[in-house]
């Protein structure tokens, strides 16, 4: 074990991972490096998933539906007490920004890996966060307070001016978010947005924001020690979004130079310092066409897209979070400009040809590329079932390069070698985005995908090219005439050829 990694007296402490999929696996593996004992809190549907198998210990917290497991404060707290952990890492999504979890955990004498409950109440609520940003001298967008109903929303929208954005006060990841172009769409959109917000966050509070179009989505990574010291680790650009769901992210942004970066970072720092922010957080901004930026919201947790920042600043944000929470102090973050460029693609189980409908089923094979500069943050393996209960994210493919073009080329090459067989995925679609001339020129806005890829998207048909047919024949040959693997096979097994359940470790 490398002494530097386990420094700070945190080795041997215990941490509950209250999440699933790729982020849970990322936290579990980081715990191992730090010498921290990981306990995976998982639903019945996730027993046997890689994050459960790789954790040092595992505890089942309820049935498949998230409301009865990953979204249940009571179940997570009970699991944390019973497992006698020192800290709870909530990952992103689920309860990560839920002040009740943070409070209950800390009342039980357990550290919450994230900001204090009071910070989550204020900055996690988008309406209050805007007030805090304004107070800290950060430019903000026009908007409303909390909305009572659709009629109240229509009233406020008329004051702000259409188009408006309906958003969940407790939201994130585009859930419960809807663009409303005119008064006649308000009632239906209000209903859908509040149903989505209720399902995703357990709260259906909505508010309105004036829509800035075209705009780039920029965000600054911050990390605070909880006592007023905050570092800002540059920006990420996340303009490539489908239905407000980020798909491709990068750091730095092609639209940001050193002077704009300094201004963005100082705004983000001002807000986080005023809150005496603790741990990792992200301050989101919209950058208008004339180069002015406005505060959008603060995400009081680790972001899905944190790896791009890690690559260009050479930091491990998850290790930093865990160390701070367990009393190991604030790490020495680098200062200065980002090094090179990093691009992340979110690989999801969804079918672009069918309007990106979630695609379920068993993963028959999964081979992720490895190369210098290429990182695959995945959470699933061959044999795992992708079911209806959770988000469709399968993993994140991240590539680094000296220049933006090099990073994009490496990401595109790696996507071509990422083989996920079973559920349909958006891998081809991601490749098409990275190849698009406008993407390559860095001319992005949050409506980039709507404008360049409207409607369902069909990849070139996988029409059974010669090599594919021959490869299929080679694989079937092994089964022998009656099916099942032939004992007389000259190769005992083909990697990737898994006719049955997942093979043992």
């Amino acid at each position: 074990m490398v002494p530097a990694l386990t420094a700070g007296g945190i080795a041997g402490k215990r941490l509950l991972v209250a999440n699933r999929g790729e982020i849970a696996l990322r936290v579990v593996r980081t715990c191992r490096v730090l010498g921290v004992v990981s306990v995976a809190a998982h639903s019945e549907a996730d027993a046997g998933m890689p994050f459960v198998e790789e954790a040092d210990e595992a505890v089942c917290i309820g049935p498949g539906p998230a409301r009865e497991s990953y979204l249940s404060v009571a179940r997570v707290v009970e699991a944390a007490r019973n497992a006698r952990v020192d800290a709870v890492h909530p990952g992103y999504g689920f309860l990560s920004e839920n002040p009740d979890l943070a409070e209950s955990v800390e009342q039980a004498g357990i550290a919450f890996v994230g900001p204090r409950a009071e910070t989550l109440r204020r900055l996690g609520n988008k309406v209050l966060a805007k007030e805090a940003a304004e107070k800290a001298g950060v430019p903000v967008t026009r908007g409303s307070g909390s909305l009572r109903d659709a009629a109240h929303a229509a009233e406020e929208a008329a004051r702000i001016g259409y188009p408006v954005l309906l958003k969940a006060a407790a939201g994130g990841g585009g859930r419960g978010m809807r663009i409303v172009e005119s008064p006649k769409g308000m009632e239906a959109e209000f209903r859908t947005a509040s149903a989505e917000a209720k399902a995703a966050f357990g709260k259906d509070d909505l508010f309105l924001e004036g829509l800035v179009r075209p705009a780039r989505h920029l965000e600054v990574q911050v990390f605070g020690d909880g006592e007023g010291r905050v570092v800002a680790l540059g920006e990420r650009e996340c303009s490539v979004q489908r239905r407000h769901q980020k798909i491709v992210e990068e750091a730095p942004s092609p639209a940001v130079d050193a002077s704009l970066r300094a201004r963005l970072c100082s705004s983000a720092k001002a807000l986080a310092e005023a809150a005496r922010y603790r741990g990792a957080g992200t301050v989101e901004f919209l950058l208008g066409p004339e180069g002015r930026f406005q505060f959008l919201e603060m995400n009081c947790r680790l972001q899905v897209e944190h790896p791009v920042t890690e690559q260009v600043y050479g930091v491990d944000l998850v290790a930093a979070q865990i160390r701070l929470a367990l009393g190991g102090g604030m790490p020495d973050f680098p200062s200065g400009e980002p090094r090179g460029w990093s691009v992340e693609c979110r690989v999801c189980a969804e079918d672009p040809a069918r309007e990106f409908a979630p695609s379920m089923g068993r993963i028959a094979a999964l081979e992720a590329p490895t190369a210098p500069w290429v990182r695959w943050d995945g959470g699933f393996a061959a044999g795992d079932e992708i079911g209806p209960h959770y988000d469709s994210l399968l993993g994140k493919l991240v590539a680094w390069g000296d220049t933006r073009a090099e990073a994009v080329d490496r990401a595109r090459d790696a996507l071509g070698r990422l083989a996920i067989l079973g559920p349909r995925t958006n891998i081809d679609f991601l490749g098409a985005i990275l190849s698009h001339p406008r993407f390559r020129e860095g001319r992005l806005s949050t409506s980039f995908l709507e404008e360049e890829f409207p409607g369902p998207w069909r990849p070139e048909e996988g029409d059974g090219g010669d090599a594919a047919v021959l490869a299929a024949a080679c694989a079937l040959m092994q089964e022998g005439p009656t099916g099942g693997r032939s004992a007389a096979s000259p190769w005992t097994s083909l990697p990737g050829w898994r006719a049955g359940a997942r093979e043992g470790p």
Binding site: A357, A365, G422, G462, D463, A471, M477
Partner: protein
């Protein structure tokens, strides 16, 4: 080892008859001889061909299908019946636009039904909303249609491919 059979993919049939001996694949594809192809294992799958022209494939069986990842694409084949040649089963996959019904795009829960029998709706109008993986998916009319029957109710689970709304034809 030998293999003879017909693969189906995207409505296309590929007849293949090959022998693998001493690491070399020989035989015919659609009746034409293929070049002798060295076949070997690679770290991540199987390699067809040699040197610069080698193609890497990842192959997996998924129920009645063989899935092959090659050249950045996923190819899906129905597993051929080796004893008798079947006709491609018609009507299992429908072309978009001409269906007599709307099917569920995914396994999930119906959260909202917007039409009832007898309704005439324009192309693109929402018929119902299905939710899964925290996402809501709006099922829309593929063309102007008159609703004949609705086989869905809010709150009820549905399977992928289930017929949700039938149209008058």
């Amino acid at each position: 080892m030998t293999f003879t059979g017909t693969f189906r993919s995207g409505g296309r049939e590929r007849r293949v008859s090959v022998t693998l001996k001493d690491g070399v694949l020989r035989g015919t594809l659609d009746g034409k001889a293929i070049p002798d192809t060295p076949v070997s294992r690679s770290a991540e799958g199987i390699l067809l061909g040699a040197g610069r022209d080698a193609v890497r494939a990842v192959v997996a069986r998924d129920g009645g299908r063989v899935l092959v990842h090659v050249g950045g694409r996923v190819h899906e084949f129905e597993i051929p019946d080796r004893t008798k040649q079947r006709r491609a089963s018609p009507g299992r996959r429908h072309q978009p636009g001409d269906e007599a019904f709307a099917i569920s795009p995914m396994t999930g829960t119906v959260v909202q039904v917007a039409v009832k029998a007898g309704d005439a709706v324009p192309a693109g109008a929402p018929l119902l909303v299905v939710e899964a993986m925290k996402m809501q998916f709006v099922v829309r009319a593929p063309r102007p249609v008159v609703v004949k029957a609705v086989h869905a109710a809010a709150g009820k689970p549905v399977d992928i491919g289930a017929v949700l709304v039938e149209f008058e034809t």
